[in-house]
């Protein structure tokens, strides 16, 4: 029974939302919007669960003097400070009337000077990884890998002045073989075809998965029947 009710809820909510797309009449027309708003509100409640879990995991590590426990103190401290700064809007307009991210507030400062460099640097690691991955993966090991390599190589060359120079001597009738032209052809023709095939495939996969969920065939997400 406990397992049936959620399946029924999913079925009803899912199918009503699908049907509501076709019915502008009240209240169906607005269901999609309203339910999206609900979703966000529930998500905020869920954050309490997440924060609880985070604090429990790190609290446990500190308590059990796990190998890296001092770092867990850093996490808990970072969390607490940011939380206090944000919830009480410290350093912003008097009271809590101001914007959460008002310039000069502690929340904004922490965001700007702690958060931003961390986030941007983490992202910047990609510059290195993109190089090591292309060195490792773009090798003509077999036919597929060769095709992958060639496409990547032409595009890479096409974006450098070096690649432009390389083929600029080609006579006019062969100008379509110039690397920048070849690169843009690859982007807009075979690349586009591949993208479309994948997109249509994904759309079918998503739709089938959605139907599986709505029909209650797929219910892994509900977990076990623990009493």
């Amino acid at each position: 029974m406990r397992r049936q009710i959620p399946v029924v809820i999913t079925f009803i909510v899912g199918s009503v939302l699908i049907i509501s797309v076709f019915i502008p009449h009240k209240p169906f027309g607005q269901l999609g919007e309203n339910f999206s708003v609900y979703f966000d509100i529930i998500a905020v409640f869920a954050f309490i669960l997440g924060a609880g879990n985070l604090l429990r995991v790190h609290g446990n590590r500190i308590y059990k003097k796990h190998k890296d426990w001092p770092y867990s103190v850093v996490t808990v401290a970072g969390f607490t400070v940011m939380m206090i700064a944000g919830l009480f809007k410290i350093g912003g307009s008097p009271g809590i009337t101001g914007d959460l991210t008002e310039p000069g507030s502690m929340f904004e400062d922490l965001y700007m000077y702690v958060f931003t460099p961390l986030m941007a640097t983490m992202f910047a690691l990609l510059a290195f990884y993109v190089a090591s991955a292309s060195h490792r993966a773009f090798r003509a090991k077999n036919k597929e890998a060769t095709v992958l390599l060639l496409a990547a190589f032409v595009i890479l060359l096409g974006r450098t002045p070096f690649g432009v120079e390389l083929t600029s001597w080609l006579p006019d009738p062969l100008s379509f073989l110039e690397i920048p032209n070849l690169a843009s052809w690859i982007m807009s023709v075979p690349n586009m075809a591949g993208q479309r095939a994948i997109m249509v495939g994904i759309a079918l996969g998503v739709i089938a998965m959605a139907l599986r969920v709505i029909l209650g065939v797929e219910r892994t997400y509900l977990g076990a029947d623990s009493e």
Partner: protein, 251 residues
């Protein structure tokens, strides 16, 4: 360990030299906040060499701060204006005076109830109630996604693929244009054949599926290559911060 120190030393020497060469252009930053930013940047970059104490510190700080950041954003930007202010407007008088005058909208009780249901997961007695909220969330997303994907990614893409395979330009046959369109149409069709699951990829079908996989490989290679530049620009941004804002080596 010795080798690491040599590298570190070489690095410091290199930048020291740069600094000396540019002496007088601009001095190193005296702003504590910039120093914090530079420290954190270097701490993350050090992971490229290997895992170490600085990285661990930065990582753990990052996790803690971001978890709180998201919670505060959710609280002030969703919970307060979209739930509390709707149920009992006067309560937000000090925060959002404009909304405080509006009449309450009691149907917001539903999401509040669902939110609380979700938190029942923590209760020892009836954790299963949280599944109702979960079922609601999943049902919503599923229903919305089904129609959206059908409309835009399925029907929309099919329509875009509807192109003539014989292209006529200014009254004469355009070989290049026709060829490109044939590649697109054949590419899409073969790509889709690769995704056939319930039929063995043999014979003519197998050939089409091979063509499909080559098309996909071109797509992946091209997208990868196209992206490389962007990934580098992110690093440029960071280096500007380190060399310019922090070390004062840039004009």
């Amino acid at each position: 360990m010795r080798k690491d120190l040599v590298w570190l030393f070489a690095g410091i020497l290199f930048f020291g030299l740069l600094y000396l060469l540019n002496w007088g252009v601009k001095a190193i930053s005296t702003d504590l906040l910039v120093w914090i930013g530079a420290f954190l940047t270097l701490a993350i970059l050090s992971f490229l060499y290997q895992d170490n104490a600085f990285y661990k510190f930065a990582e753990h700080l990052f996790v803690g701060v971001s978890a709180a950041y998201w919670m505060c954003m959710g609280f002030w930007n969703t919970l307060v204006p979209n739930l509390i202010a709707k149920l009992h407007p006067p309560i937000v008088k000090g925060v959002l005076p404009a909304i405080a005058e509006k009449p309450p909208e009691y149907w917001y009780i539903i999401p509040a109830a669902l939110g609380i249901m979700f938190l029942m997961r923590l209760s020892p007695k009836a954790p299963w109630i949280s599944r109702w909220a979960l079922a609601f969330i999943v049902g919503t997303t599923t229903g919305l996604n089904l129609v959206r994907y059908l409309r835009s990614d399925f029907l929309g893409q099919i329509k875009s693929t509807l192109i003539p395979v014989i292209v006529v330009e200014n009254g004469s046959l355009s070989v290049g244009g026709s060829f490109s369109n044939i590649v697109i149409v054949v590419g899409v069709l073969c790509g889709l054949i690769y995704f056939f699951f319930s039929k063995e990829h043999k014979g003519l079908f197998g050939v089409a599926s091979r063509v499909g996989i080559y098309i996909l490989m071109i797509t992946f290679g091209a997208s990868f290559g196209y992206t490389v530049m962007a990934r580098i620009s992110l690093l440029v941004g960071r280096m500007r911060f380190l060399l310019g804002d922090w070390m004062g080596l840039l004009q």
